[in-house]
């Protein structure tokens, strides 16, 4: 259906056709392009290219799949003066993201009984599934502080270390948030959820750094083969979901979705009051998410301390990335620096060496790009290559290969826990259904996805991670 022109390895051009304001740029390996599952998301790539003020390309990452309006695994940048901002280009789960921590304790030296005890301790300490956090409900004052301080607020409350902020995208604080742009409904919805994983595909994962693929960068980052890692995937919970939903509702009511091929593409000029208010609310939600992941890591550190007697500073945060966000960034456009609103929905920023936004360590190497796979096979730590055409972006995960319904049918009447044990993974969740829906074969092979990311020069593989202990939301 799409006549894609190969430009270089894992990089294809969707030529600018009727109503498209820019071409599409598809990062994918040749084999994956044959998969009929890509037809619908590629239509969405085309739809995004029709939006006002889009600059460069409508971009698809190798893990692209169907989303609401914008595809998941999509990147689009808009002129900050003349372009639009769209909640569909960010996603319902604002600042859904991932963080990884490294522990210098060799994972295989931890006795099996202690691994199980560690998993159970984390399962007790970190609320997961459908439900609440255990902290007292957030007050209006708490929310204001979260919005203005970002993750620093949680650290001031005793959740974690000051140094953690150096190892977060944007230092754990997206500026510009304003609680005046956030409804009481959103505050109520998120008030009891801070510090919890949530449900669906969110998780805490612990395992071993299985292999080092870029030794210099790994050494600089203090990662060695055999180290223990913790990976946390969560977002802004009901607070962010409500903000996205209310914004979409408002945009629809105001006619901002009229004449769009998909209402979920609803967008407002960045400079309009609607656009400005959405950004303020989105930034507020982004900071809620940074705090959420900070508090989850704190609980994980407590578990390591209690079970393995490892002090919290030795559960070292390597990096925290957003993969559902819209950020104002300056990039070169036709050789000139230009301020853009970069939407990454199911995509990760991938700044390279020298970028002043990064801390001194990552300025030397480029920033970590975290790519969770599935709970059975692998996840990856990569390093950003700052490909200009992608607005310095990379993928965010493996992407689903199979629907939840299919996965349930496949695993019906089978003992999921026994199967996962047979492949060396202990999994805990409050819902059997969640586990069935999240089985490894429900996801694409992350090895193939990161291979395409590397071939396309979006990021480079640094370390392959092998999960062994998993808590699913």
């Amino acid at each position: 259906m799409f006549n894609l022109k190969k430009l270089k390895p894992a990089t294809f051009l969707m030529e600018q056709g009727e109503k498209m304001r820019v071409p599409g740029l598809i990062f994918m390996n040749d084999q994956s392009l044959q998969d009929p599952l890509f037809e619908e998301p590629l239509k969405q790539v085309r739809n995004v290219s029709t939006l006002p003020g889009i600059v460069g390309y409508s971009i698809a990452m190798p893990d692209i799949h169907w989303g609401y309006g914008f595809p998941i695994g999509g990147v689009a940048a808009f002129d900050a003066e003349t372009g639009v901002i769209s909640p569909g280009g960010v996603g319902y789960d604002i600042n859904c993201g991932v963080r990884v921590a490294i522990i210098k304790e060799p994972f295989q030296s931890i006795p099996s009984s202690q691994k199980q005890a560690l998993l159970k301790a984390i399962f007790r300490k970190v609320p997961s599934g459908v439900g609440m956090g255990e902290s007292p409900p957030l007050t209006q004052a708490d929310y204001k502080a979260i919005v203005s301080k970002g993750a620093k607020w949680s650290i001031e409350q005793g959740y974690g270390l000051d140094i953690d902020l150096e190892f977060m995208e944007s230092h754990g604080n997206i500026s510009g948030g304003d609680m005046a742009a956030v409804s009481q409904h959103a505050q109520d919805r998120g008030a009891k959820q801070l510090g919890s994983i949530g449900s669906g595909n969110h998780f805490v994962e612990i395992g071993e750094v299985q292999s080092i693929l870029l030794p210099d960068v790994a050494a600089a980052w203090g990662i060695a083969k055999g180290d223990t890692y913790v990976l946390i995937h969560s977002g802004s919970r009901g607070f962010g979901h409500q903000i996205c939903q209310e914004t979409l509702d408002l945009f629809v009511q105001k006619g901002l979705a009229d004449n769009l091929v998909d209402k979920q593409l609803a967008c407002a000029p960045i400079k309009s009051s609607e656009g400005q208010n959405y950004f303020k609310a989105m930034a507020a939600a982004a900071n809620y998410a940074f705090n959420n992941r900070q508090q989850i890591l704190h609980s994980v550190r407590q578990a390591f301390k209690h079970v393995l007697h490892i002090p919290e500073e030795e559960v070292r945060l390597l990096y925290d990335v957003c993969h559902n966000i819209a950020k104002f960034e300056t990039h070169l456009v036709d050789g000139n620096p230009k301020k853009l609103c970069v939407h990454r929905k199911g995509a990760t920023r991938a700044f390279g060496p020298g970028n002043p936004e990064l801390n001194t360590l990552f300025q030397a190497t480029g920033q970590p790009v975290l790519v969770p796979g599935d709970m059975g096979r692998a996840s990856y730590i990569m390093v950003g290559s700052a490909l200009p055409q992608s607005w310095c972006s990379a993928c965010h995960g493996a992407g689903r290969a199979r629907s939840r319904v299919q996965s349930m049918k496949t695993w019906k009447d089978r003992n999921l826990f026994d199967y996962m044990k047979s492949i060396g993974v202990t999994v805990m969740a409050h819902s059997i259904r969640t586990i069935a829906e999240e089985m490894p074969d429900a996801y694409k092979n992350v090895d193939e996805v990161v291979q395409a990311v590397q071939e396309a020069e979006l990021a480079k593989m640094v370390a392959r991670l092998k999960p062994e202990l998993v808590i699913k939301g």
Binding site: H65, D188, K263, V405
Partner: protein, 264 residues
Amino acid sequence: MKRLFFAFEALANWPNPLPRGRLLKEEERHMTAAFIGATDWEKLESELPDLPLPPFTLGFCGLCQDILFLPPHHPRVVAYKAYFSPATQQSLADFASRLNQWLYEHAYLKKPETRPFLPHITLARSPFDYKKWKKIPTHWPVAFHRLKLYESLGELRYQPIWQKELTPPFEEREHTADIEFLIHGRDLPELFRHSAFALLSRFPEGGAFYRDQAPDSMDEIIFLLNDWIRQMDGEIGCPFKAVSWHGKIEEEGNLMKWEMIVDV
């Protein structure tokens, strides 16, 4: 001779665990429309083409809000009492009345059924622990889209030997990233109701927060569903982020249908 009764098959994500007792198997739970008892199956089978059928072609949904011990004075079963929209309740009562009348006129019943239709779903037979059963979850969602003729085999076993399919009020479909349902309804309020019950099939605990609504547009259906999700998530947490703005209502015969996609 077979011991027979007509009932609507009850489909639900049942509470688990239920208190110990002689439980009916989940797949055999039902809402009786007419009880026949021991009867000449061959005669009935020959007359089935003339059986009065439900006047509605679309299935329906209800909430199990009360726990009943039946019969009241010497209970032998514990059951959920199901509540429906007033229109559905009336349609079911009318159908049960016509069906019983037909059975009486064709000599399957010795006397006319005069008791009012009591929509209930038996969960277990005695003996049971009253205190524990009184505490099982209520406001539990249940859906129906098949009228069946069951044979009672004894030992709490019921085997369907004939059925009439209705259009399901909702069906879950394949969707890679999230969850998708095909919803059917005769009007917008019913489309809303069936959309909500589709969500409840995944999250039955949300039944306590469900209220019938009267939307006058598809946009309003989505607003109302998302407001309900917001309320559930804020109070008890729920697995849904939001109902998306995907799709539009299409006509299918005398029914409306909508592909509802829900972010989870």
